[in-house]
């Protein structure tokens, strides 16, 4: 899909990969709605994009809150038109430092599922019907290698991301006949606040720049079925940006 003159919705857009993706999409000519819980940093991010010549709006909302989803989707479509690109990037690790499953409260698992799995499902339900009618749309679910590898202490997050991966595969199978692509993306290890929360003593020099990863994900959206087929699980650091 050509990103120019599209409408995008990016969750978790006040910092890290989400912010980098919102900037990339706006720079490529998409009208972008940024979503995150905290209004102040989100407003600043949207203002920065506008100052750089892009179109951006901020909507403060919690993706884990059932009541927030329809108002969020309605506001977004009112501001930028029906959504063509949905980036499910917002996610929660749960309490930091991370805990063994035996020490994880059930409520923390439920919260991880609400934000990382049920929220993207709800948002997909609201947004992808319009995409299917118009035969135009890309949904990107940001996952993690924790969805595949059994890293101790990552249980709640890992289970939610593994479920999100499978949800994306079924979405892709169901939406293919309507021309809507669904991609699952493992962004790799990035130098973000979330990574610092999870692994405080990591060597930041070994971590990817979120803006570099965002450029690769934008390239996936722009690429056709040959390079980024619907239903695929793509490893962003290995996806080459072609000129």
């Amino acid at each position: 899909m050509n990103i120019r003159d599209t409408a995008s919705l990016v969750t978790g857009a006040s910092r890290g990969l989400g912010l980098a993706l919102a900037r990339r999409l706006a720079a490529a000519g998409s009208r972008v709605v940024l979503v995150a819980r905290d209004a102040a940093p989100l407003e600043r991010a949207a203002a920065d994009i506008r100052a750089a010549g892009g179109t951006a709006h901020a909507i403060a909302a919690d993706i884990g809150d059932k009541q927030a989803i329809y108002p969020l989707a309605g506001q977004a479509a009112a501001l930028v038109g029906p959504i063509d690109i949905l980036i499910n990037n917002a996610s929660t690790l749960g309490p930091s430092p991370l805990r063994l499953l035996l020490d994880t409260d059930c409520e923390d698992l439920e919260r991880a599922l609400a934000v990382n799995l049920v929220g993207p499902f709800r948002l997909g339900k609201v947004v992808a019907g319009s995409m299917a009618l118009r035969r135009r749309g890309v949904v990107v679910n940001i996952s993690s290698d924790a969805a595949i590898e059994p890293y101790p202490t990552w249980g709640a997050y890992a289970a939610s991301k593994a479920a999100l991966d499978q949800l994306g595969r079924v979405w892709a199978a169901e939406l293919a006949e309507h021309g809507v692509r669904v991609l699952t993306v493992d962004p790799g290890e990035m130098d973000t606040q979330m990574h610092a929360d999870a692994i405080p003593d990591a060597d930041r020099a070994t971590l990817a720049d979120p803006d570099d990863i965002a450029a690769r994900i934008a390239a996936m959206i722009g690429a056709g079925e040959a390079r980024a087929p619907t239903g695929a699980r793509l490893i962003a650091p290995r996806f080459e940006v072609q000129p």
């Binding site: 909507i59 329809y70 108002p71 309605g74 506001q75 009112a78 501001l79 038109g81 009618l133």
Partner: protein, 393 residues
């Protein structure tokens, strides 16, 4: 119309209404089908004068490959806003449509104190507003809190049609306005329902921009199971956006003038699809009276290439249809303006017979009720002798 048992439950609902958190979420709808796949469909074959009792899920089998189905993709705004007039009197504002442009005024209807549990025609009239009056809106989740910075609007103009029809200028625009509308607004409610309809209940499965102030309800039963089956059968789907307006206001002058002029946007691709279908002798079926108004309004005004416009077109038995061959709509009684519009598609005796069949057969009216399909010819094994009219290539 309302059976005695429901009167009691309406009274209960009023009591429960004092403590909204006590309203059971699973309470049944009194006058609607909770599940999309329970919706019934009365097929009215306008060519052969026949009536068929079907389900909405039978729609793909009733249409022909090559038919073009046009849907209204407008999402439904939370268009009912509780507010206070300058005197402090409670008013309900129902937005009648979106502003024509960002920062523009919004048409709106003023209702008096009370809520949806009273039929609009039984509500006390509101305090009369004048240009320059400011309405301050109340967040219904915190009605006693009146924080500074809460949404307000100035009456920019009062309509000559009725003092209750006004143009409002909100005190903010863009993202700030829509954030406030979705915070303080609630979907327009119906006295024939048992409980508040949630925002998600009044959306179609393919909704996009929130232009409608009441749900384009003919599309509500169309699940993606049905839409996918239609596409697999070779029925083409196209869409437009039409700002479906208020169905009732309780003001005699306004209600007599409904539907008010409504804004529409017809994508170029949809205009092209309608032309191709017409040129190839394929049928164009509108999902909802709003789609008929948009397509026929555009045809009347010569907007054949698509685009954005406003239509005041009101169709009836003597209207000549230029763009649309068939219609999917709700179940309408002869007194309704929608019933008059059906007259553009079928002769009065057939519509009267359909209404009697709907009554006798237990079809449900209203926004969450059942459907009718009016089309010249129906596909399907029970009508194998029916020839498709004006067959395409």
């Amino acid at each position: 119309m309302i059976p005695a048992a429901s009167q009691a439950s309406a009274a209960t609902a009023r009591l429960v209404g004092a403590a909204p958190e006590a309203t059971p979420e699973a309470a049944p709808l009194r006058a609607g089908r909770e599940e999309r796949d329970q919706v019934r469909l009365l097929a009215i074959d306008t060519r052969h004068g026949r009536l068929l009792d079907r389900a909405a899920t039978d729609l793909p089998a009733l249409l022909f490959p090559g038919d073009l189905l046009v849907l209204n993709d407008a999402a439904t705004l939370p268009a009912s806003l509780a507010g206070r007039a300058p005197s402090g009197a409670a008013v309900e504002i129902r937005l009648a449509g979106p502003a024509a442009d960002e920062g523009g005024t919004w048409p709106a209807v003023v209702l008096g104190p009370g809520d949806w549990r009273t039929r609009t025609e039984d509500r006390a009239p509101p305090e009369q507003l004048a240009a320059g009056d400011v309405i301050r809106f109340v967040d219904p989740s915190a009605p006693d809190r009146r924080p500074a910075g809460e949404l307000a609007a100035e009456v920019a103009a009062v309509s000559p049609l009725s003092p209750r029809l006004v143009d409002l200028r909100f005190d903010r625009a863009g993202a700030a306005l829509f954030a406030a509308l979705y915070r303080v607004g609630r979907p327009v409610q119906y006295a024939h329902q048992d409980r508040d309809l949630a925002l998600w209940t009044v959306q179609t499965a393919y909704a996009g921009p929130p232009w409608a102030v009441e749900m384009p309800s003919a599309g509500r039963p169309l699940s993606w199971q049905i839409l996918a089956a239609l596409r697999r059968r070779g029925v083409e789907l196209a869409w437009l956006t039409h700002a479906a307006g208020l169905s009732a206001t309780g003001d005699a002058a306004i209600d007599a003038a409904l539907p008010l002029p409504e804004r529409y946007h017809i994508p170029r691709a949809t205009a092209g699809a309608v032309h191709r279908a017409a040129a190839e002798g394929r049928r164009v079926i509108a999902v909802g009276t709003t789609v008929v108004r948009a397509l026929e309004g555009a045809a009347r005004d010569g907007h054949w290439a698509g685009g954005t416009g406003t239509t005041d077109l009101v169709l009836g038995p003597h209207s000549q249809l230029r763009a649309v061959d068939g219609l999917i709509s709700g179940i309408h009684a002869p007194a309704e303006s929608h019933f008059r519009l059906l007259g553009a598609f079928a002769p009065a005796p057939l519509l009267d017979a359909a209404w009697r069949r709907a009554q006798a057969g237990g079809y449900l009216q209203h926004e969450l009720g059942d459907l009718c399909l009016l089309a010249p010819g129906m596909a399907g094994p029970t009508l194998s002798e029916t020839r498709r009219p004006a067959a395409g290539p």
